[in-house]
């Protein structure tokens, strides 16, 4: 290849033509192009030499989405630590944006080209576990001598299926009531407490709403995730207890959805889509126009960055007849098709529970570590604001999880448009939930 390009180079240099500036210029351009080509050849050559590695080194591919742009460096650092501590293993890190992650993963698996290790959020975990794409890891705990009890019991469940452990919990997050202290002061109301109810929230929101035309009491939104959580605060659920039937349009659920709609359309303590005008809850909060919203631990960093001068704190979400808080987790899975499962298993446990990795995660505030070592967790609690950081862990007492269904993604697509019809006041809660129930029964198999 190099020889051919060199020949080409000499041909251009010896090219006989009428002498003149233009021809000279053309020749110069050609020469430059040849030089560029040479560079490409040399560089690809370099790449090849780098690829051939010394024997005995295992390379595993880690396919993930949660690092994103914000935590890409943190993940790189964790991997570097791991490679240093485990000289026999190299990790190829492939981070993909959340939007296209599952498409790419599904395509890779379908093509028989699954990555050795991949990340899943708990909503999708079951869909992959049921389909037999994930390796069971209980045996690997015994074989490698890694202690399962470093993880807290609650988060381990996020990666278990049929009473067996299929994945390592990597990180988790909870959602709290985030509130603006200044607006509470202005309205002359006491700050939220852990035993607040819907009624307390409603009263406070009304008073804050009265402060200004574009000042809002609360922002929750009506969508699938908020819905399945809020109905559980009112004794409802999406599925019957045995998981064999949908209970989408139960009286409790209709009542809950009516409550959610009334906050927007009857009392207008929460903005309609038109009034919200594409502003997110963080936008409204940092502009001092929002009393309360339901925010996950992931929103803290942005609030700290943009919300200078805004006095905000958090509390466990208010409930009605019961309390319920969101719990989300991301788990690390090992492909059933890989034969490098031991290296993969070591790697997952390292980034999930090695003290060095955990410290890096806490420093970066990249969600929450899944370990239950109180000493390490203390460092997380010490990072402020928010002042009431304990609420992050207190929320775990009321944790509710997304429904574990093989066709989870499809259920969201069925329910969400109906909820949005209620949000925009185009359907009554009963009509919407009846329709959702009917369609879910027709399209989703529960067995």
């Amino acid at each position: 290849m190099v020889i051919i390009i060199l020949k080409l180079f000499f041909k251009i240099m010896n090219y006989k033509n009428i002498k003149g500036g233009y021809v000279m210029f053309k020749r110069l351009v050609s020469v430059l192009m040849v030089v560029c080509l040479l560079f490409v050849v040399v560089l690809t050559g370099c790449d090849k030499t780098a690829d051939t590695e010394e024997s005995g080194v295992v390379t595993i591919t880690y396919f993930n989405f949660s690092a994103g742009a914000d935590n890409a460096e943190v993940l790189e650092a964790m991997i570097a630590d791991f490679e240093e501590d485990n000289p026999g293993i190299k990790v190829e890190n492939v981070s993909v944006g959340y939007g296209e992650y599952f498409t790419q993963l599904a395509t890779k698996i379908a093509a028989g080209n699954a990555p050795d290790v991949f990340e899943l959020n708990m909503e999708n975990f079951l869909a992959y576990a049921i389909r037999g794409t994930i390796r069971e890891v209980d045996g690997l705990f015994e074989k490698t001598g890694i202690d399962k009890s470093v993880y807290s019991e609650a988060v381990l469940k996020a990666g278990s299926f049929n009473d067996k452990q299929y994945a390592i919990p990597l990180m988790f997050s909870t959602v709290m009531l985030v509130y603006n202290k200044d607006l509470f002061d202005q309205a002359g109301i006491a700050y939220p407490t852990e035993d607040w109810t819907w009624e307390d929230e409603m009263q406070a929101a009304k008073k804050i709403r009265a402060l200004g035309d574009d000042t809002w009491g609360v922002l929750q939104g009506i969508q699938f995730w908020e819905f399945y959580k809020t109905i559980q605060k009112n004794g409802g659920n999406l599925l019957s207890e045995d998981g064999k039937q949908f209970t989408m349009n139960s009286p409790e659920n209709i009542e809950t959805l009516t409550y959610m709609r009334d906050r927007i359309w009857k009392y207008n303590i929460e903005p309609t889509e038109e009034q919200r005008a594409d502003r997110g809850s963080n936008d409204l909060m940092v502009e001092g126009k929002l009393g309360m919203f339901y925010g996950g631990v992931w929103s803290f960093a942005d609030l700290v960055k943009r919300g200078e001068g805004v006095n905000w704190d958090i509390e466990v979400e208010p409930g009605n007849t019961a309390k319920a808080s969101h719990f989300f987790a991301n788990v690390g899975c090992i492909s059933t098709t890989t034969d490098k499962y031991e290296a993969a298993f070591k790697f997952l446990n390292y980034i999930a529970s090695n003290p060095k990795a955990v410290r890096r995660r806490i420093e970066a505030q990249w969600e929450l570590p899944t370990i239950n070592d109180p000493e390490l967790l203390k460092t997380y609690l010490e990072i402020k604001p928010p002042e009431n950081k304990e609420a992050v862990f207190k929320s775990l007492d009321y944790a509710v999880k997304p429904p574990a269904l093989e066709q989870f993604a499809e259920l969201v697509e069925i329910v969400n448009p109906k909820l949005e019809m209620v949000r925009d006041n185009l359907m009554t809660p009963k009509e919407a939930l009846d329709a959702a129930q009917k369609e879910a029964e027709a399209m989703i198999r529960l067995d």
Binding site: T103, A106, R131, E273, R276, D278, E410, E420
Partner: protein
Amino acid sequence: MYIKNNAQKKITVFLFLLPSVAGLIVFNVVPIISALGLSFFRYDILKPIEDMTYIGLSHYRTLLSSGELRAVLTNTLYYMVMYIPIIIVVSLLLASMLSRKFKGVTVYKVLFYLPVLTSWVAGALIWKWILNGEYGLLNQFLAFFGIQGPSWLTNRVWAMPGIVLASIWKDSGHFALIFLAALIGVNKSYYEAAEIDGAGTWKKFSRITLPLISPIIFLVIIINIIAGFQIFESIFIMTGGGPGNATIVIVERIYKNAFKFYRMGYAAAYSWVLFIIIFVVTYIQFKFKKRWVNYDS
């Protein structure tokens, strides 16, 4: 090259065609036919291929009996009814401006063609920002005239017009170029004759230009109807089918079923329905074009 006999000629022709025909077969014909086969199976792409089950026409029955297809077609129609007239008017206007000779015309040609070369992903992301309800460029521009613009992409009624706006920006350069070629092709002596008879600008345009470029207008309409049924990137990035189901379209459904719900068989059935729709629409257009397209120039 001198070719002696017929057989040799055939072989030569075949060899010349081979590269593109091979590509066509591998990347188009085989997938189209295998999609037809797949559409009779329940095929979950995350499961091993042995788990495929034959279910006959069941996918087509579900598809045709669900209200979704009607919603999808209504949305597509809504898009095309807005998009096609506007794109023709805008690109014709652009073309007639660019057909005049003035300083820097080439620069303008390049500028108007630039969006065509831009990737939809980048373009759609920028338009998402332009169309933002509170901070968006468009609404700030409208506010200058005292108009309160909607939250385009999160509003049921305005989401599709928002997409149309972005598509016009993206495509008008391309069709302007096609119209420009057509305008240049019109014989100047017709205009001279008309001027002698005292025809004005509008008369010249409606009586000479329009009939003479009608085959091109027809072509642009067909291209856009076909492309309209296949609209995807802009919707996928800007609205993802929402709000509600206000912007769900066929290709977006195919994508979601295949890669989000892992129902590849159902997605294949959807693709075949799309194919049949486009085939029928195009056939009808060709059948009736004689009525209004003028082919002598």
